[in-house]
């Protein structure tokens, strides 16, 4: 009997081995209220803050080094060690710079709030004045007391590279609190370090095009119990009236999403992933309309590429091969044969040889690969090709921008 009691008591010790349990993904940070008491920094000041930072304290959160850079009015920190990033808002306050925001651990879906400060002795006055400081340090603490200290060591690597966010920002969108393939996610993609997005196009029963990845509606992707089963069984009217994306956003049409890219982002590339060959003619039409609209808005550098993942879609694209820009996932010979194929993008597990890359570049085409999430693979491909599609664009940003 005694033995049993001892064993049971010791078993309770197993409970002390509990790992840290993740908190929920919904960390609401009112960025506007953070901005309000501070004065916005000038573009010159922001560029002085952009750079690669040595992590003096806080390596357990970010690894070392990290990349810090402004995107619009938001200051981002991007780890090159793991899919960890921080987004903050703020500006100058007296002779210091104050930033508030959150750190997100993308792979676990958890996050914590963080406060960052550049004090008057750490280069803030110079940065505010638009003058390069002799040294620049950022100090901060997280809400659970972890101290952070960053020291700027060099400029961000400037080689061009396309960082594409899968499904607008990464699959398993519950990790970010914003639904995949949604307009809010497209707006957020740049804060993840992405230069472009990949979105999925589906056709409804009444031949309308929406952004949606799966063949069927499911509780993973939508709210609304009456949206059940295949997307092609419902009209757009049913989908928009009786359902929402899982985080409450409206399910966007392709037109709406591309218009948002033009009007509300600085993204340079959109990859339209189309699995249904019957959707191709309409996609080409919308592609033309949006490119014309983008031109009127001064967004001539935007590329909207019709993705060709299969022979069926290729056959449907063939009548438009001279008028529609495309991205091909098939073999390199087909990519070279298509006059408007701008990008060759095979899966990352296929063997992309230096000869293939050279041939594509000689034909003024770029080479991407997908969907690369492993750090070792990202590092490996970064030196060889022109762009990566990833579920963790923050990690790709951290690796790319921190290169020496």
């Amino acid at each position: 009997m005694k033995r049993i009691c001892v064993v049971i008591v010791l078993c309770a010790g197993v409970g002390s081995c509990d790992p840290r349990l993740p908190s929920g993904p919904d960390i609401y940070v009112d960025f506007e209220s953070i901005d309000a008491p501070t004065a916005p920094l000038s573009e010159t000041s922001k560029s002085l803050m952009n750079g690669v930072y040595e992590v003096v304290q806080g390596g357990s959160e970010f690894g070392n080094p990290v990349v810090g850079k402004w995107t619009g009015n938001r200051w981002g920190l991007y780890s090159q060690h793991d899919a960890v990033y921080a987004i903050s808002a703020g500006g100058s306050s007296g002779d210091s710079i104050k930033l508030r925001g959150y750190i997100r651990y993308v792979r676990s879906g958890s996050g914590i709030r963080v406060k960052l400060t550049i004090s008057s002795t750490d280069g803030a006055p110079e940065v505010i004045a638009g003058v390069p400081p002799p040294s620049l340090r950022i100090h901060g603490t997280t809400e659970n007391g972890i101290k952070i200290e960053l020291r700027r060591v060099r400029e961000i690597a400037s080689s061009p590279f396309e960082i594409l966010a899968h499904r607008g920002g990464g699959r398993n969108s519950d990790r970010l609190g914003i639904s995949e393939n949604s307009i809010p996610m497209i707006r957020y993609a740049a804060l993840l370090g992405a230069t472009g997005v990949e979105v999925d196009v589906k056709r409804t029963r009444d031949n309308k095009l929406i952004l949606f990845h799966d063949d069927s509606f499911s509780p993973r992707t939508v709210q609304g119990i009456y949206l059940l089963g295949k997307v092609e069984n419902f009209d757009l009217e049913h989908i928009r009236s009786l359902g929402r994306l899982i985080h409450g956003e409206q399910i966007p049409t392709l037109s709406e999403a591309l218009t948002a890219v033009v009007d509300e982002t600085d993204l340079s590339l959109v990859w339209l992933d189309i699995k249904d060959p019957l959707a191709v003619p309409q996609v080409v039409q919308i592609q033309k309309e949006i490119m014309a609209y983008a031109s009127t808005r001064g967004r001539d550098s935007l590329s909207i590429l019709l993705g060709i993942p299969s022979e069926e879609v290729l056959n449907a694209y063939t009548p438009f091969r001279d008028s529609s820009d495309a991205l091909l996932e098939l073999d390199v010979e087909t990519a070279l044969s298509l006059p408007r194929c701008r990008v060759w993008a095979p899966a990352w597990t296929r063997n992309i040889t230096p000869g293939d890359v050279a041939a594509m570049r000689a034909a003024n085409k770029r080479v991407f690969t997908w969907t690369v999430d492993l750090r070792e693979s990202i590092v490996s491909y970064m030196e060889r090709i022109d762009g990566i599609l990833s579920n963790y664009p923050t990690l790709v940003t951290g690796i790319h921008d921190s290169r020496e």
Binding site: P219, I225, Y226, L227, L228, G229, K230, D235, E237
Partner: protein, 196 residues
């Protein structure tokens, strides 16, 4: 299909191994229930419906095989109407009204233990979930999906005669993925259809 084959093979091997002619009575019972359903949803059923509960109704059928012990095994099915809603959607120039209907048919393996009229059991397996949307300006739309669910049931029966029993039954079903939990208080009617 493969799980069904596995179950059949296991039962067959168990039967073959255990069967001794003559001294064990095997019994097959059919149980039918009809009841209201109180359904709870993890998320709103539609953007226009903030409530997370609904009232539905359903009938169920259960065929159980008793090989002379506490444990019995069988099949569970039925038809449950989980939710029916009239939904109005305001548009800039007009208003649309939809009728939406959600139903489920369980196709489950049932296991239960019976003693002295009390039966406690569970059903595991898929539900065939179906939705129908009518109204608006479009033709009606139908969708369906197989989703895994679990059904717990507990009942107590009184004998009405030799082969007929009746009594209350409580059933709880969970469609975890879809975020639906339903409670069904019901009256069950049980008949011994075969004894050998």
């Amino acid at each position: 299909m493969k799980p069904v084959i596995i179950i059949v093979l296991l039962l067959a091997s168990a039967s073959l191994r255990a069967q001794t002619p003559g001294d064990t009575t095997y019994q097959v019972e059919l149980t039918a229930t009809a009841s209201p359903m109180i359904n709870f949803f993890r998320l709103p059923r539609a953007p226009q419906i903030p409530g997370k509960a609904s009232v539905g109704y359903g009938i169920s059928l259960r065929a159980m095989w008793h090989p002379g012990r506490l444990l019995s095994v069988g099949l569970l099915s039925g038809y449950y109407v989980i939710a029916e809603d009239e939904i109005s959607v305001d548009r800039p120039s007009t208003s649309l009204t939809f009728s939406a209907h959600l139903a489920a048919v369980p196709l489950q393996l049932a296991l239960s233990m019976q003693k002295s009229g009390v039966e406690i059991g569970l059903g595991v397996g898929p539900y065939f979930v179906m939705s129908t949307i009518r109204g608006g300006t479009s033709a009606s739309a139908r969708g369906s999906r197989l989703e895994i669910g679990i059904t717990f049931f507990g009942s107590y029966v009184f004998s009405l005669g030799e082969s007929v029993k009746i009594g209350p039954e409580l059933r709880v079903l969970s469609l975890r993925y879809r975020g639906i939990v339903s409670v069904m208080p019901s009256c069950s009617f049980r008949v011994d259809v075969l004894r050998y």
